[in-house]
Structures are given as structure tokens and as C-alpha cells.
Symmetry: C2
Subunit: 308 residues, 2 copies
């Protein structure tokens, strides 16, 4: 494993990939971005990051930009920040980058991404991560990082390993706060506890988080959805601490008028990450006979928005 | 009863009251409009109606406009077209207009309006009506009538009466298609069968009717909501024909991208007629132990929008 001077590939250089990749490049790492829509702008002008932790920019000579994975060199670390709606392209995009010891870290939303990567490339390569960050794309090559930024990473199989700790060091020494998850699945469910109500209601109703929490009707609704998520997680073998419900709600108040990624997708007419965030929980609930009527209805509303 | 040359008072001269009142005045009837926001414009310039059945306008000498009920003469017929969210003002607004034989016809949405009027002014006066019309206010004094227009009227107590038929004649001879309801309650529930899914989802999700019917997910959702309404109606003693579900959906397709009144209220920040359309059905469902989980959740989303 070569995590001493790793070649790092960013697959999916949207807001999340662009931001974390730029932080790593800023710290001197060897970054290789695979871009689609922003390729021309980023290759010409570099990255411009408007960040609540301090603005910065990268000139084009501080990293490598590609619009074709076949042109990219083998990577020691592949960071998957592709939208989960494009997961059918994972094989095509990542295969050209693999060496025997390449590690694949997915920072994607929802449940099922590690499973899919493991099926394609082998479980031993896979590390899962959660990004807790408020971030949006601006004009091409511009990223607006408005709040938070922590990532939490965990081995797909088993407890933390030396390579996981080394990865955390790389992030932490690049001004990306990173913590180690003892149990990745717990972390995934903890994030879903937030994503399902706030992305779900935010997109279905086209409301920012502050509007959802502005009334007791809204707070009760968020709370009841979280209780349903807790119940499915339990059936999936993950016992989330019920105190998390109040903690997440209190924390969300500090985010003010936040538009979730799904709400932004709705407003801009882009596909929503419905299957990643809702699909697997709904399938698990059905398999374990856990009633989650509110989440089910939310998913039906979101499928309506997605014209499914 | 003086329905030969009736003095007709319109209480609540928004889109519905302005449109039907103007049609009656155009036919030569003696119309007295109680206005609030449009008072100055309508008194100065009259009514301007942009109608799919032919544009027309009324000059100020063709009707009477008031901004105070105490200035209005006694009426033979009071047409209540107030938004149901202002029902707490019914006593104040209507009392000054009453003679012994004044008839009160409410064209308001939802369940509970006749009951409220009957408690205030006596059941014998009350006639209920449903307006099937696509209509919006434009700038002050302007009304946009885009589709349909039928009204259906029924006695609050018992079967059709001569006065009801006379009323229908008045409308029909004023280019307002009017049919007689044998059973007002059936008619009310039939209208709720449309209003609950389309106003509910339209406002909660901020979607026009065509978007709700553009996907099988949306159609299934509308259909399942209608099934819940059918079940509550049944518990309330009204057996709606299940064929109405497909009929209403097919009919709604002909309305194209229709914004329901509740969706417009949401977009313009005005209060939604939540209690009239959802309140009574929810209370009846609770009283009769009829499970209506989707309608319940919709109501919770709408209360969130209403900041309740």
C-alpha cells in the first residue's frame, strides 16, 4: 500500500469531490480529478473555493484534470464522490485506475454504495465515508462551502485498520476534520436519520430546513420520520441512540435556511438520489415487516417528483 | 320569499364571488358586492372578467359595491363566497343583511360551512353549493376564469324545494350552468374526493395537477388518497361511486397545468383552507376509526406549511 505519497483520484468532481480534493491538493497531495461539466473551466482556471473556513484557490498546475478515466494514472486512493444516481457507471469509471492495492473510499450518500463497489472491485478495497458538509456548486470551477465539513470513515469489513488511521491522518493534516468510525453501518444509519426526513421533506415539499422546524407540526413530522428510521435501523441490526433525534434537530437549527441536496436537485431539475437514500431502507423495512408509513409516503411523493 | 326580483348580496368578492356575481349582474340582477382588498378598484372601474366563455366587463353603475356590511340593504339572497379561513367573521358580515325570508347560499369549499351558518342563522335559510370552476384573481377588479364553471346546489335539510329550483333558474338564465343536488352531502363528499388529493398534494408539494398525473407514482398516490376519502365518506353515511375515482382523474387531465387554490395560497403566502377541506374529514375518520394514513400525513405537511 502506498499511502505515503498517494496518487489520489477523485471520481465525480462536483461540490463534494471538488472541495475535499482541493483541500488535499492544497496540502500538497497528488490529485487527479475526473470532471464532466466543469472540465474546461477547471483545467483553464483551476478551482476557486469559497469556504466558511477560509477562501482559497488552486491554479491548474497544482493538480491534474481529466475528462476521460482512461487517461488517468493508476491511483493509490480512489475517492468516489459521484452522485449515487450515476452508480451504473462505477465500473467504467474506476476500473482503469486500479492497482492491486488501490483503496476505494466512497463518500456517497445513502445505503448500498459500498456493497456495489465491493461486488465490482472486491470487499478488501472498500472504505466507507460520510461527509457532513454544507456545500454547493457555483459557476463552473467555483464551490461554495457554507458550513461544517467533517468526514467520518470506516472499514467496510470489520473494525478500524492501520490503513484507515493513515487515511484519517491524510485528511486531518489537509484541514479536513476526519474521525474514525468503529462501525460504518452505524454511521450510515446515523446519517440516514438526518437525510431521510430533511432531504425527503425538503425535496417533497420544497422547503428549507428552517421552514421544516418553524412549527410544531413540522417538528413532530421530522421526529416521527426519525422514529421510523430508528425502527428500520434496529431491524437491520443497528441500534441508534434515541437521543440522536433531539440532537439532530437541535443541530439542524444551527444550519439556518439550509437547502438539502435533494431540494436543490428538485429545483434544478436534476435527478434525486432516491434509491441511495430511500430505496434500501424501504427494502429492509419490507423484508423485516417494519411499518414505516410516513417514509413510504414521502418516497411516493419523491417518485412523483422524479416522474417515475 | 322574493326571488322574482331578488336583491343579491355577495359576501366575499374574491374570484368566485366576483365571477358569479358579475354573471348575475350582467343578466340584469340587483347585485350588492361586499369587497375588501378590491373595493377601490371595483367601485372606480367595475369588474373586468377574462372568461373562457367570453370576456365581459361591468361598469360601476351596473352593481353596488360596499366595504362595510352595515351600509348594505337587506338581501333576498346572500351568496357566501368568503374563504372558509374567514368563517369566524360570518356572523358579523351576514347579520346586517338578513330579513325573515333571506336565503343564504354558501359556495365555500369543504365540510362544515352549512353547519356553521345554520348555527348562526337557522337551518331553514341554508342552501349549500359547490363551484366547479377554474378561476383566479388578477390585478384588482380583474378575474381570470380559465375553465369550467358549473355550480351544483342542494338544500341543507332535505330534498330539493321550489326555492332551490327557482335559484337554479336564476343561475341558468345568467349563463351560470347550475344543477340541482338531490343530496348535498353526497355532492360535498364528491368534491372533497377531488379537493383532498389535488389541493392537498398540489399545496404540500407545490405541483400543478398535470405534474401530479405525469407519472404512475403520482397517479397511484392520487388514487390511494381518493380511496381513503371514499372510506371516510362511507363512514359518514355517503356511499360515493368508486367509478368516480377514474372519472375525476380523467377529468383532471383535461385541466392541464392547473394550480389549485391551496397551491396558489401557498405560493402567495395566504392562509390555506385547511380546516374546511381536511379538518372535518380527519375528525370523522377519527370518530369512526377509519384509517386514512396518507390524508393524515398530507394534513401534517400542510400544517407545517401553515406554520401551525
Amino acid at each position: 500500500m502506498s499511502l505515503d505519497h498517494p496518487a489520489i483520484a477523485i471520481i465525480g468532481s462536483g461540490a463534494v469531490g471538488g472541495y475535499y480534493g482541493s483541500r488535499l491538493a492544497q496540502a500538497g497531495h497528488d490529485l487527479h480529478f475526473l470532471l464532466r461539466s466543469d472540465f474546461d473551466a477547471v483545467r483553464a482556471n483551476g478551482w476557486i473555493i469559497h469556504s466558511c473556513d477560509g477562501d482559497f484557490s488552486l491554479t491548474p498546475d497544482q493538480f491534474h484534470a481529466y475528462n476521460e478515466p482512461s487517461r488517468m494514472p493508476p491511483a493509490d486512493l480512489v475517492l468516489v464522490t459521484l452522485k449515487a444516481t450515476s452508480n451504473d457507471q462505477l465500473g467504467l469509471l474506476i476500473s482503469p485506475l486500479l492497482k492491486d492495492d488501490t483503496i476505494i473510499l466512497t463518500l456517497q450518500n445513502g445505503l448500498g454504495n459500498e456493497e456495489q463497489l465491493a461486488r465490482l472491485f472486491g470487499s478488501h478495497r472498500i472504505i466507507g465515508g460520510l461527509a457532513f458538509v454544507c456545500i454547493n456548486r457555483g459557476q463552473p470551477g467555483h464551490i461554495h462551502h457554507t458550513d461544517h465539513g467533517l468526514i467520518a470513515i470506516g472499514e467496510y469489513q470489520g473494525p478500524p485498520t492501520p490503513r484507515l488511521r493513515r487515511l484519517a491522518d491524510i485528511f486531518n493534516s489537509s484541514r479536513i476534520r476526519c474521525r474514525i468510525l468503529e462501525n460504518l453501518r452505524y454511521g450510515r444509519w446515523e446519517k440516514l436519520l438526518w437525510n431521510i426526513p430533511f432531504n425527503g421533506l425538503g425535496a417533497a415539499m420544497d422547503l428549507t430546513t428552517d421552514r421544516l422546524l418553524a412549527s410544531s407540526a413540522g417538528i413532530d413530522l421530522v421526529r416521527d420520520i426519525m422514529k421510523e428510521v430508528l425502527a428500520v435501523a434496529h431491524a437491520d441490526g443497528v441500534d441508534l441512540d434515541p437521543k440522536l433525534i433531539d440532537q439532530k434537530i437541535d443541530h439542524t437549527r444551527t444550519m439556518q435556511a439550509y437547502r438539502t441536496s435533494m431540494q436543490i436537485d428538485r429545483q434544478t431539475g436534476r435527478p434525486m438520489e432516491l434509491d441511495a437514500i430511500f430505496g434500501q431502507p424501504l427494502r429492509l423495512a419490507a423484508a423485516h415487516n417494519v411499518p414505516i408509513p410516513i417514509v413510504q409516503l414521502l418516497a411516493r411523493q419523491l417518485r412523483t417528483l422524479n416522474n417515475e
